[in-house]
Amino acid sequence: MSGPEPGLGRRSWRRHGGGPVGGALHAEWTKLRTVPSTGWLVLGIVALTVGLGLAMTGTLSRDGCESPCLEDTVRLSLFGVRLSQAAVVVLAVLAVGNEYATGMVHTSVMALPRRAWALAGKFAVVAVTVLVAATVAVGVSLLVGRWVLPGRGFTAANGHPPLSLADEPTRRAAIGTVLYLVLIGLLSAGVAVLVRDTAGAITGVLVLLYVAPLVATLVSNARWERWLHRYTPMDAGLAVQVTRHLHPSDIGPWAGLGVLAVYAAVAVVAALVVFEVRDA
């Protein structure tokens, strides 16, 4: 639809096309990249993943490991996501929460009154940003593991060939870990829309993620322990990293990621609906 009143000044700068989705994506990307904290958080995601992975593989020792030593070296190399997911949570929550904190959400909704589309654009931009950061983080972590592990005694000779994406379980763990972080980002962004408060959303998501695995270390009732491992977002989602000692009672790698995907989907859908219906 064209402007209602022609002749109100020059319109040569107006570009048509792109549609609401394209506009939302472009706008959200501009919003995300022009806030200084985004760059730091992306850097943090990579640094924390790689750093903690290095700390794990670097201190790994074959003493006290039975022979043949079947350490899950892939999982240990990618252990850093347990820490870096906190940076993902912050990035995703801030992308939403900042708008509520500053009141800019009104401007956003006025610029893009098809709210669900606009929010979907924001979710997409957050997801792609996390995807890129996570891909780099996971790739570098595996490279570091490949470089460090032989020095710690994990060589092809004793059943630990160098980490390689040609290996199916390793590839699955790598791709799954990237998707894990993307889903964590979506879950966080969704919760932030529902809560409309940065601090509340961050605390809530971190408690949801971190408390359940700790409960599982303490709980000595096998049935409950299994339940916690299977149906809480972090433990279930990270089942995708397991490449050795897959217990039949554990949730499968993709099924585990699926559990996390359900959490994320519920948060995202609820956020889209609420955002559309609620007064801005």
Binding site: L52, A55, M56, T59, S61, G64, C65, E66, E71, D72, R75, L76, F79, R82, L83, A86, A87, V89, V90, V93, L94, G97, A101, T198, A199, G200, I202, T203, L206, V207, Y210, V211, P213, L214, V215, T217, L218, V219, S220, N221, A222, W224
Partner: protein, 493 residues
């Protein structure tokens, strides 16, 4: 000066805290989280420690270990046993040799023992509770145990003629007929291996050998010495692994144990220990588990207590009302710390009371887990220290919020500093894991244990003591508070 002093600042900060409804709700929620999560975790925990006992039941129904090699005979009424421990082999674990008066040969029965150790001197002990240390003599040493009515007295001597009294105990509940004699044992070796999240605990039996000579029993009817081991019936291999999947430990090596007598010299070889033996799992820390999510909520309020003032520019009004900024910071720390302390104390107290019956239903029942009450010193200590830990951590969060002036970063940092070390040290090798707990605020979680530290459990907070944990979190809080103090005075509001 009224109205201008620190009290006024304190009151102002308290008013600020209690008038934001969201914060008050969060404070109350944290208390509720402590109770609800504590109950949930309690009801989802379980133990088979009473079905498959790896302990003997002591005279007061408590779990004990009571294993030794025993050269004995029956003594009726009063009497005295004297012997010289000539040599005592140091097995590397806790070895001991000595004299004992015991109610029969059943593991876990009442006793009075006088023992000498390679490194820890002479002890007079009774019924797994009383322990009187009497000098640091070691073998060769003369020992004497005298029963007279209900009183049993222990003596030690270097030469067999000049005796010093080690101590005396009243053993009114020992029967008239007791087994008396010489015993030797040596504690098993506990090997804890941890790799990739699996903790394997193995106990390896050890043996120690000691010689006794100049053995004399002055009693109504002295007879011949018999040789028997005292130990818990071996219905199941002793297994205290902290996590499933650990290798089954080998049976204690018993074949070399026994008594050899030649020319009045007894050579006794044996393994085991005589002492209380509660399981390492701590019901108090299970009941208090809700403190973990609770403290995250409290830390968030601690951060917001400062950062919201910066965000809304209210900090200028605060500093205009009280230009002594350091005092404002101190008042904030006291107010938020006290609020966190009280909430944890209330929530934790309720959780402990409410969880007790739930835990009993889940198998945490006597004899392995005696019923606790809030007034038991270890339980009370755990509750108070946990509340103190949460208070200090909340102050740390507040100080970090002051330094960073950004709620999201500050809250995330605090949560990560608590959670990630726990995840890490439950997977890292034991020594590294212990270091992680000793260097991060997560170590403060050690406060919620009422039992002494142990390395045999999967939960990393059990590796260090509460004092170490409180120290590390206090250092974090103090340093951050100092930086905040410096910044607040220096920085433009």
């Amino acid at each position: 000066m009224r109205g201008d002093g620190f009290g006024a600042t304190l009151r102002a900060e308290w008013t600020k805290l209690r008038t934001v409804r969201r914060w008050v709700l969060t404070l109350l929620c944290s208390g509720m989280l402590i109770v609800v999560i504590g109950l949930l975790v309690s009801s989802s925990s379980g133990t088979d420690a009473n079905q498959y006992q790896n302990f003997a039941v002591g005279p007061d129904g408590q779990p004990v270990v009571d294993d030794f090699q025993f050269a004995h005979q029956t003594m009726s009424g009063d009497g005295t046993i004297t012997a010289r421990v000539g040599k005592l082999e140091d097995s590397g674990t806790d070895a001991s040799a000595g004299l004992i008066v015991k109610d029969g040969l059943t593991s876990g029965s009442r006793y009075v023992a006088l023992r000498v150790t390679p490194k820890d001197g002479v002890h007079l002990e009774s019924d797994y509770v009383t322990d009187i240390r009497g000098g640091d003599r070691t073998a060769p040493v003369w020992l004497r145990l005298t029963r007279q009515g209900p009183v049993i007295t222990g003596y030690a001597s270097a030469d067999g003629s000049n005796w010093t009294k080690v101590g005396q105990v009243t053993a009114a509940r020992l029967p008239r007929d007791v087994e008396v004699g010489m015993f030797v044992n040596s504690a098993p070796k506990v090997i804890v291996k941890r790799s990739a999240g699996n903790t394997a605990v193995t106990e390896q039996g050890t043996l120690s050998t000691a010689t006794f000579d100049n053995v004399r029993l002055d009693a109504a009817a002295a007879g011949a010495w018999e040789d028997d081991p005292v130990h818990r019936p071996m219905d199941r291999p002793k297994d205290t692994s902290g996590e499933s999947g650990s290798a089954g430990p080998p049976l204690p090596e018993m074949k070399a144990a026994g008594v050899v007598e030649r020319d009045g010299m007894f050579t006794i070889t044996g393994g085991g220990q005589i002492k209380p033996n509660p399981p390492d799992d701590d019901v108090v820390s299970i009941a208090l588990f809700g403190v973990l999510p609770g403290l995250m909520a409290l830390a968030a309020v601690g951060v917001l207590f400062v950062t919201s003032e910066y965000r809304k520019g209210m900090i200028r009004a605060t500093f205009a009302a009280n230009p002594r900024r350091g005092r404002t910071l101190a008042a904030k720390a006291i107010v938020i710390g006290s609020a966190a302390f009280v909430m944890t104390l209330l929530g934790g107290g309720v959780a402990l009371l409410a969880a007790q019956p739930v835990l009993q239903e889940q198998g945490f029942a006597p004899p392995a887990y005696p019923e606790y009450s809030l007034t038991d010193p270890p339980v009370l200590r755990a509750l108070l220290l946990t509340s103190l830990f949460v208070a200090i951590l909340t102050v740390f969060a507040m100080a970090l919020g002051t330094v960073l002036r950004h709620s999201a970063t500050a809250i995330t940092t605090v949560v990560v500093l608590i959670v990630v070390p726990v995840i890490l040290s439950s997977i890292l090798p034991l020594s590294v894991g212990r270091w992680v707990m000793q260097l991060t605020p997560a170590g403060g979680l050690a406060t919620w244990r009422a039992k002494p530290p142990t390395t045999t459990l999967a939960d990393p907070w059990s590796m260090i003591g509460p004092a170490a944990g409180l120290t590390v979190v206090s250092v974090y809080a103090a340093v951050t508070l100092a930086v905040a103090w410096w910044l607040v005075r220096r920085r433009d509001a």
